[in-house]
Assembly symmetry: none
Homo-oligomer: 410 residues x 2
């Protein structure tokens, strides 16, 4: 079984965006056991798109396209694919209803442009898109297939995982089972170093480390005709990994660090208050993303100035004068102050230099202190982070959440 | 002048790495004014590589390859390219000396494999590689060119910038200039609806709408022998677009909405305080991402519970009882409360139902009120948002920032 990936979009040809869709699909197809020998990119141009599809159909069984399913005139992937297979587009009234109600929900009327998104070849398989207005589709003719996926990764990836993957698995006799282990506090290269022999000696399951925004994940993927066998294969490798680096694992699969920490606070029936300087509201925001947090989250406070730190949190003037706003002492007083003011079990604080200016030899950009107060006990963590202002702030947020997590699971 | 980018490497076909080379080259070529209509990826396989090069040579003047210049047997791009042009490889002794001294410098002896890297077609243009052992090359035949670049970006990018770019600039007489208009508050299809005639009647400059995470951009790209002419072409179209939908434009090129708003607050010498419920700190966090905000940002407050809204912001119990926490009235009291407490010029508030639970017929998930207080004047905006909890919160944050922006530019 041979597939070819064609990404459609002028924004890729112009280099405006990196083509991450191809990588995602290539990896998934490799895991399923479908070979990919060609990837291509072409703009929103009918002649060239037809050429590309026809070339691809000569040498591959399946063409997977991403992009060009939008409502505008230059979105034409579906129309061109149907032309290649000599199939006529018909209105799918159910899809049109969905689009209309999608627009109604946001208080808008769909335009006639949007109706275009409800036309598909008769008898094709529709792939639902809960994250946008453009459904995907599987078009078949003889032994060939053209699969149409939307361009935005936020729509394409869930559609692949929830809709398309099973169709593709049906084409092979294997089942694939994956489990993702999520790590915080260990870098990708160190993690790989500690597991290099396990990784190298494995072909089924495969073990794929992946680093993203300060955290590392390992995806274990087993392939078997039987799901139970696949699960056993995963369990075996997972146990080996855990015996070496299990203390860095904070969760599995789609769990996030925010969710893990917020859940712990709620499950322990504790209350929390947050005071932030350099992270400026990101820690509160992450905790509040957990729907069940309302009873536990008492208040958040963005005290960016010294005055606010003193007035709102009771940080002492002497502390700020002697140690500065970015110091262990200030972090502790911020955490303690917000907790005591609100009578919360937990007070969590951040103070640091996010840059690009404001750094010195003694206190460089990226220096961040996390303060934690839990029922009278205090703890502080010093971090030396790097990268852009945004990256430092986001990493500091994760460090704060992880510090709290480690205390809560003690 | 038309170019095609072919990246060679099994690691890309398997999805092990993201193809950033294509993006880099595409962007650079667009800037130079060389059109790219196709990008392709193929593995280290002679038959398929020859096929790809031959196809490309049919439709493009220049093929730029990256990868496959290494010392091992499966590195074959140079050999296959020479075959396509029917050119023989000869030993370039100067290159071989360079390779030997490169190895001496790192205390190693080159292997016979490495000698392969010193062979090139006679009369080709060699592109130096100070960052590795594989030089690049420009091969010419009749009016066609194959340009060979190494795969690792750390070698490829400097080689492009320092060696290849000038050769390419000599080939074209055109300059390309782009400008991006950034919109908020209008969807992609409605925007296109309003501009459809302008878009359809334009070929130079081209007009490309693009939607991403709640905002829409339009990229205008003009091609001309003279940069000033290109700028005029852009200005002309930009003015037409502005006359129809200019009130939705918040910025240009790489500006973000957060930055635009934070800058406005600072430039107007105003002070701001933020009180957030459903966005839980995101509005503060976005403003604080602007490095110059410190003098203007007085304090942020995450008052998720009713108690906090009353205690911290002075929202009246009767208001909460009569209208509920998610209401116009509460939003206004939150914005006014935080501004007055801190004596700030601006108070900005959010309160809403981010879901997934907590919605009712009367107040569904996605209902958000944004409250704004500016020097005694108040304003409130009701939004009906949709999507995941995260999406609703993030969209509400943008709506709050945009409401403030619209007031500040009045």
């Amino acid at each position: 079984m041979r597939a070819e990936i064609i990404t459609v979009g002028t924004e890729i040809l112009l280099g405006d965006i990196v083509n991450t869709n191809s990588q995602f699909l290539a990896k998934e197809l490799a895991n399923i056991g479908i070979d990919v020998y060609h990837q291509g990119t072409v703009g929103d141009n009918e002649t060239r798109l037809i050429e590309c599809l026809n070339e691809g159909l000569k040498r591959s069984d399946i063409i997977i396209t991403t992009g060009g399913l939008g409502p505008t005139k230059d979105d034409m992937t579906k129309e061109v694919a149907a032309k290649c297979f000599n199939q006529e587009l018909v209105l799918y009234s159910g899809i049109w209803e969905n689009i209309k109600s999608y627009f109604n929900k946001i208080g808008l009327e769909p335009t006639q442009n949007n109706k275009k998104q409800a036309y598909f070849p008769k008898d094709c398989i529709i792939l639902d898109n809960p994250n946008g207005t453009a459904p995907g589709a599987i078009l078949k003719k003889d032994n060939k297939m053209i699969i149409l996926l939307p361009g935005p990764p936020k729509e394409m990836i869930p559609m692949f995982n929830n809709e398309l993957k099973n169709h593709l698995l049906d084409l092979t006799e294997y089942k694939l089972v994956s489990k993702t282990l999520r790590f915080f506090g260990i870098g990708e290269s160190l993690l790989e170093d500690k597991l290099v022999d396990i990784i190298n000696n494995q072909s089924n399951p495969t073990i794929a480390p992946y680093a993203k925004e300060g955290e590392v994940t390992i995806r274990i993927t087993a392939k078997s005709k039987d799901i139970l066998d696949a699960n056993d294969l995963i369990k075996n490798v997972e146990d080996k990994i855990k015996s070496r680096v299990g203390n860095y694992i904070y969760g599995y699969d789609d769990t996030t660090l925010d969710e893990t920490v917020a859940k712990l606070v709620v499950e322990k029936n504790m209350t929390i208050a947050v005071s932030e300087s350099c992270t400026g509201g990101m820690v509160s925001s992450k905790l509040i993303n957990y729907p069940g947090i309302s009873q536990s989250f008492l208040e958040g406070c963005v005290t960016y100035s010294n005055e606010a730190k003193m007035k709102r949190l009771g940080v002492k003037k002497e502390t700020l004068d002697k140690y500065g706003a970015v110091s262990e002492e200030t972090a502790i007083e911020m955490a303690t102050g917000i907790a005591k003011t609100l009578n919360a079990n937990i007070g969590l604080s951040t103070t640091g230099i996010a840059g690009p200016g404001g750094g010195s030899d003694e206190k460089p950009v990226g220096l961040v202190y996390i303060g934690l107060y839990i029922n009278g006990y205090v703890k502080v963590k010093k971090c030396n982070l790097f990268g852009s202002r945004e990256k430092i702030r986001s990493r500091a947020t994760s460090e704060a959440l992880n510090l709290l997590r480690l205390e809560l699971i003690k």
